[in-house]
């Protein structure tokens, strides 16, 4: 029995932390926030170099063949540093292909995705809160797809897009195919690209529906469902990292900021609020670990754990963000205060893929309440 991290997992996080400390400075983030690119090629390349882009991809295709837990731990660090770039969608694309690609598809795409040379995307949501695979309406005919996908974490750098279709099917689309128009959206979180994708008879190459491949055997659930569960867990991990970052930043600020001749951290009202924030944040850590472990090891628990985790963690993380801003006082309300990167990051994590309320409905439905 070991419910904790291995030395390798700690090393993974620390390696990534060193990278972000060097490359993802507050001033770089401010540049990103003052633009609308949501991507930084240098950071992407450095992350790819340490293997981040292929963490769960099988070794035979150039990946590290690690479980989802390790990917979630990496995402915690991405959230902690608000690392810009479509890491989430890239990871989901690699999972989709690993789970349901043919041998040829894997051989063609996974090595390029693992190296980061090819930036993957994942387009699935449709207007009207259609996030879940059961709700997707757009289908393809003769391997050509038409319709609009919303809120995709896809930017100009994206080359390959896994697209969700009616019936929970997945398919591969060249991001630069003719007939595909990308409409950039100014999103709440400018560290992640956001686009609306208009498909007009764009060629799409199907992936098989069932889950087969390097990662787990999850019974009768489709690859699309598994990928969405992974997304729920990774969003939560990202939010945990961002939440802890805001707590640390706020605790430091409270020790330096003086009011009435005293560091505000000495006022109980401030100290207790920080204590409550730390309590909420630390309590979420094991929840994420467990859900990520379930992805690879407890297929029958996965769906419900993932929904609980997404609902709980992203909900509380946003609240932690709001408290962090309030504790900063006026400065917290400015564009110049670093807290904004993380507040908005958690807002994205909370809304993308559906609200806490919708995930709690899912928790109830999955248990037949």
């Amino acid at each position: 029995m070991h419910f904790g991290l291995t030395d390798e997992q700690n090393l993974l996080q620390n390696t990534l932390r060193r990278l972000t400390a060097e490359q993802v400075s507050a001033s770089r983030l401010r540049e990103i926030f003052n633009s609308d690119v949501g991507f930084d090629e240098a950071i992407w390349k450095s992350a790819a170099e340490i293997g981040l882009c292929g963490l769960t991809i099988s070794e035979q295709f150039g990946g590290a063949d690690l479980p989802l837990l390790d990917l979630a731990l990496a995402f915690e660090v991405l959230g902690e540093a608000a690392v810009p770039g479509p890491f989430l969608s890239h990871a989901l694309a690699t999972l989709a292909i690993s789970l349901s690609g043919s041998d040829a598809q894997k051989a063609k795409w996974l090595p390029r995705l693992a190296s980061g040379e090819c930036v993957g995307g994942f387009a699935f949501a449709e207007a009207g809160e259609r996030w879940s695979s059961a709700d997707w309406q757009i289908g393809s005919e003769d391997n050509r797809i038409s319709g609009t996908k919303e809120f995709t974490e896809v930017g100009p750098e994206t080359q390959l897009i896994v697209v969700g279709q009616k019936g929970g099917k997945l398919g591969l689309v060249d991001a630069h195919a003719s007939g595909l128009a990308r409409e950039a959206i100014d999103g709440i979180d400018r560290t992640r690209p956001l686009s609306r994708l208009h498909f007009d008879a764009v060629p799409i190459e199907p992936l098989s529906i069932g889950a087969a491949g390097a990662i787990g055997a999850a019974g009768a659930r489709s690859a699309a469902e598994l990928v969405l569960d992974a997304a729920r867990i990774l969003l939560a991990a990202d939010a945990l990292g961002a939440a802890w970052k805001m707590i640390r930043v706020t605790a430091e600020y409270a020790q330096t900021r003086e009011q009435f001749g005293t560091p505000i951290a000495q006022f109980q009202a401030v100290k207790h609020q920080l204590a409550d924030m730390a309590m909420e944040a630390e309590a979420m850590r094991g929840l994420i670990w467990y859900a990520a472990y379930a992805f690879d090891n407890l297929p029958h628990e996965l769906a419900r754990e993932a929904a609980t985790t997404k609902a709980h963690v992203t909900d509380r993380a946003v609240q932690i963000g709001r408290d962090a801003v309030a504790l900063h006082g006026g400065i917290g309300f400015t564009w110049e205060c670093d807290v904004q990167f993380f507040v908005k990051r958690t807002m994205f994590d909370r809304v993308w893929l559906g609200s806490p309320e919708s995930h709690r409905e899912r928790v109830a439905a999955l248990a037949n309440w």
Binding site: I188, G329, G330, V351
Partner: protein, 400 residues
């Protein structure tokens, strides 16, 4: 108890409405202000010799005017910032010299002199006694250095009023003076301050040997703190009831037009519970406002001391809940960048991204109103008679 205003007020309301209806569609600010003053609708507390209408105290009269003005579909965008007639004018009436009153009040009332306020500093949020920007006399001029923050209208104002440390030896409050100055001069650097919402409603102002005449001080040296508080007696916050009702109505409209599983969100039991709970709070705020208005009209402010102490914090918390439910209702649209709001847009949210803006904007409300925790101290101490916080003794002070 009687909730009707009575026939004379009903008639007055009709009169104001008629006045507004009779206005031409485009009307110059000055013409409007002149007519409204002549009719006694505005500037009631200001003597005629300074351009006011000089009337007896009547908050119901004021409330009716403000309700009618708010309801009239007129382009009010030229309205003066509240720091002008709401802060500078009463301060001068209370503590200014006759020269200052005659020179500054009349042009301020018609918008010829526009002011900005310089109180807050980056290092001094709720704790104004720790202000560090200084002014020292050099001949017959004050020379000002330092930095102010959260100054609205600094880009368009011709004048500034503010608090500056003039007596470096004196203790805290005692070292601050209230000065007036012209904005259009070298040494003043006005920089927009971008908010978390992306919008820019405020400015930072930097002072590098900025000058103002020695007699542009209001009150005596070291009295700045007292002078700045002088206008408080003119400022009766009747609570945010009507404004919260407006915001709740916007929320309800949003819920009515938001579809969830094919039905309006207002039919979703979870949303119904949240809406009804918020409406209970809004009703509380509205009835607190009614109590305060009634007490003000009858000169019975002592009866509403607690509502006066709590209404700001209470309104802040309701505003937060309205914003949170609005943000939840817009669903995925919450992924969009906020509308770049104007300061007042929160009352009329319509587009989904306005709710993103409001959700972020609400973060400021507890801060702008003076931190909520400080208000809790005041409620506990003045409202319940609790003792003051433990404080750090001054250096060398011996504990008893």
């Amino acid at each position: 108890m009687e909730l009707e205003y009575g026939p004379q007020y009903d008639a007055f309301r009709e009169e104001v409405k008629s006045f507004l209806r009779a206005l031409p569609p485009v009307l110059e600010r000055k013409d409007f202000l002149r007519q409204a003053t002549e009719l006694g609708y505005i500037y009631r507390h200001i003597p005629k010799r300074f351009g006011g209408s000089e009337q007896s105290f009547d908050p119901i009269h004021e409330t009716i005017v403000s309700e009618c003005f708010d309801a009239h579909p007129f382009d009010w965008s030229w309205r003066l910032g509240p720091q002008n007639v709401g802060m500078l004018v009463p301060t001068l009436l209370e503590a200014g010299s006759d020269e200052q009153r005659e020179r500054f009040i009349p042009p301020t009332l018609v918008g010829d002199a526009v002011w900005c306020q310089a109180y807050s500093e980056p290092g001094a949020g709720s704790d104004l006694a720790s202000l560090r920007s200084t002014a020292h006399l050099d001949g017959d001029e004050w020379v000002i250095n330092g930095q102010k923050i959260w100054t609205s209208d600094a880009d368009q104002a011709g004048f500034m009023f503010g608090m500056f440390r003039t007596e470096p030896e004196a203790d805290k409050h005692a070292g601050i003076s209230y000065l007036l100055l012209e904005m259009n001069q070298p040494g003043i650097d006005v920089r927009p301050l971008r908010q978390i919402t992306g919008a820019t409603h405020f400015f930072e102002v930097f002072f590098d040997n900025v000058r103002t005449p020695a007699d542009w001080i209001v009150g005596q040296r070291g009295e700045g703190w007292r002078v700045a508080r002088a206008n408080l007696k003119y400022e009766r916050s009747l609570g945010g009831g009507p404004r919260l009702r407006q915001r709740f109505s916007a929320l309800l409209s949003l819920a009515r037009t938001t579809m969830r599983q094919g039905r309006p969100a207002t039919e979703d039991p979870v949303i119904q519970q949240r809406l009804a709970e918020i409406e209970g709070e809004v009703r509380c705020a509205e009835t607190m406002t009614l109590r305060q208005l009634s007490a003000a009209a009858r000169g019975e402010d002592a009866l509403v001391m607690l509502p006066l102490l709590v209404n700001k914090l209470y309104g802040t918390e309701i505003g937060e809940r309205i914003a949170q439910l609005g943000f939840d209702l817009i669903g995925s649209e919450g992924l969009m960048a906020p509308t770049r709001s104007t300061w007042d847009s929160v009352s009329s949210s319509a587009a989904d991204t306005d709710w993103v803006d409001q959700y972020l904007f609400e973060l400021a409300s507890g801060i702008a109103a003076g931190s909520s925790n400080i208000q809790r101290n005041v409620i506990g101490e003045r409202g319940l008679g609790l003792p003051r916080d433990l404080r750090r003794p001054a250096p060398g002070e011996t504990a008893r």
